[in-house]
Symmetry: C2
Subunit: 428 residues, 2 copies
Amino acid sequence: MRIGLIGTGTVGGGVIQILEQKIEYYRKALGVNLELACICAKSDEEVAPYKAKGYTVSTNADEMIADKSIDVLVELAGGYNMPRKWITAALENGKHVVTANKALLAKYGHELFPLAESKGCHILFEAAVGGGIPIIRSLQEGLLGSTVEHLSCIINGTCNYILTRMSEAGLDFADALKEAQANGFAEADPTFDIEGIDSAHKTALLASLCSDKYVDFEKIHVEGVSKITAQDIASAKDFGHTIKLCGIYHRVGDRVDARVHPCLVPMDHQLASVNGVLNAVYLQCDNLGEALQTGAGAGRMPTASAVVADLVSLARSTDCGKRAALPMGFFKKENPADLVSMDETSARYYFRFSAKDACGVLANITGIFAQNQISIESIIQKNVNDPSKVCVIVITEKTLEKKAVAALNAIDALDSVADKSQMIRFLG
Amino acid sequence: MRIGLIGTGTVGGGVIQILEQKIEYYRKALGVNLELACICAKSDEEVAPYKAKGYTVSTNADEMIADKSIDVLVELAGGYNMPRKWITAALENGKHVVTANKALLAKYGHELFPLAESKGCHILFEAAVGGGIPIIRSLQEGLLGSTVEHLSCIINGTCNYILTRMSEAGLDFADALKEAQANGFAEADPTFDIEGIDSAHKTALLASLCSDKYVDFEKIHVEGVSKITAQDIASAKDFGHTIKLCGIYHRVGDRVDARVHPCLVPMDHQLASVNGVLNAVYLQCDNLGEALQTGAGAGRMPTASAVVADLVSLARSTDCGKRAALPMGFFKKENPADLVSMDETSARYYFRFSAKDACGVLANITGIFAQNQISIESIIQKNVNDPSKVCVIVITEKTLEKKAVAALNAIDALDSVADKSQMIRFLG
């Protein structure tokens, strides 16, 4: 199988390195012949080291994609526009595609997957979600004897690192972010990660795989972690919980409940101990019961390892006659998931209110909860001796999001409430 | 794909149930046509309910296997002799095989896998190890971009349930076993499970997959959990550890270190919180780093779910032309793993000695450790006021098994030592 690779950056470089390590092993032990036929990058400088090693290199991706001798395009350039064009052209030319580009698949998968299916081509993307966790393959194959009823996942290493450090060291969000950046776990512009967009891309892909329907990532509810405070983490701990940014999928009959937001996770839940840049996917299935997979979420070698596993898998699928591509044609706009709106969801809620004084505010707050028919599980007041910093933590019983939001807005409108209040859902 | 099923017991019945649930889904969503062509069991009574439902049934497995219209044999009868004969005949007839029979594969895999390869047939066995964990598929496909350097696993639900209850409730081994039996988590004759033999079958299969060599389960070191006492569990806790029965694989250059024995696992290790009948596989890989998969280890529906996933996978591999079977031909006596002997392994050790009196015994014990050049990390004496029950716990630094055993034997020979001493290795 002749491979054309676009991108010699972190992951692309890692793929070349693994192929150099293991290509002989694949040939001997697995009977799989992989050949890195062409390495393509934007500039001569980027491809020069590979040219020097004797590889065929190119700075013209279109030309490489037009080359009929190349069987599979490995797209590791990142971004939307060029990869979309390249992958479309590759599929039109009957080439298979391997990519780690979750943003592209979340945004344009509805074009690319059906196109691949119509051309009899595979798009493999194990590296797009939790590089070190073979979750795509598990959902597409290993778990097919069961239906996924619920999935919750920690799939953004940046956010998980930040929340872990806030929890372990009591850091504020801003300091934890700075530390993450200093350690290479957060980008200079971290928006995509910390606002949950990357998690939404991945959650949409997982929800589509679980439901066999097109889950449009732009339509799912997304909250990031930038509004989580050290106080929230500390209060969660008081209640035996930790805070994690979770991607969530629930099967609700024929409908799909998919969303990304911070969650209070009980300390004895398997996701609670998934710390640092580690990723994890937790599943509840009809026949199989509970399952958890954890592993590195990103990073050069874990992601590259997933790309190479896809290449081996693809070579095994196509070397001997032809194995039909895994069905992803459902992933199109004409087959949209019927999404459950946030208003319809329910959860236990954690609220944190900043009150100007402790005297009347509690009566006001509890009154509003009562008006909205929300049962309160517990209330804790902190700093009652310092009227300028009174903090009221309320944990509710399970209630409708619609009611919770109505209560939140009513309370925020009170004169006795200072800053904007916090609302975080419990996982479950 | 026409399926011939042998065995209508727990797992076989579950497979029929899942096929009834999902066969239409597979057809519509995945384009996979599965047909339960024949259900075979020992007696008319066993097949009667299925006959009543309109299935073709049989009490003659040989006849069913000779039927050329059947594409795959699903063997869920259990035991060695008949399944070996049936599977051999099926492969000779060009049929694929799906089985959950780890004992059979560990014992006769060296005949069956090479035979399958020579006939171009698949043997799929996801259900044989950790039914709810798609670990076989992960090792054969998802993790192929990496080399497994280390694997440790909890793959016997009976033992894990017993150890969990000993730890949680302070039960003795005998009481925990009785509770497991009462709850259906242990057989009436639990020997196979509690003495580690079932874990050895599974560990040998995993070690073979990791090393591409034949790991003979009869040659790997096996210890079970029947000698673990409540005192050991409590002492391990004092040191921040829990005790788990672990299957272990280490790559040692070109050699293989595979074994099954109880381990002291640090409480913050991902395996420590795998409790009850849950199974888990923990991996350290060169490129991928650390990964963990947990899930149900056994039980009707999780195991059946894995069998059905194999059937779907197989149908997808064979419906469109032919996909070569996953290479398992290495699994033969002519390609044995060069096994590291226990003497050559090293670990930190936990020892528990029962001393007749507290006065001189400590000097004797420490003297013997010194003679064997073993560094002691810590010593705790318990019940020093009751000379008949003095208990000495010794934790050593990392040392060679050979030295540890020599010290153990020398100490056991002391007059001042009462019962046979305990020796448990730390994981790592």
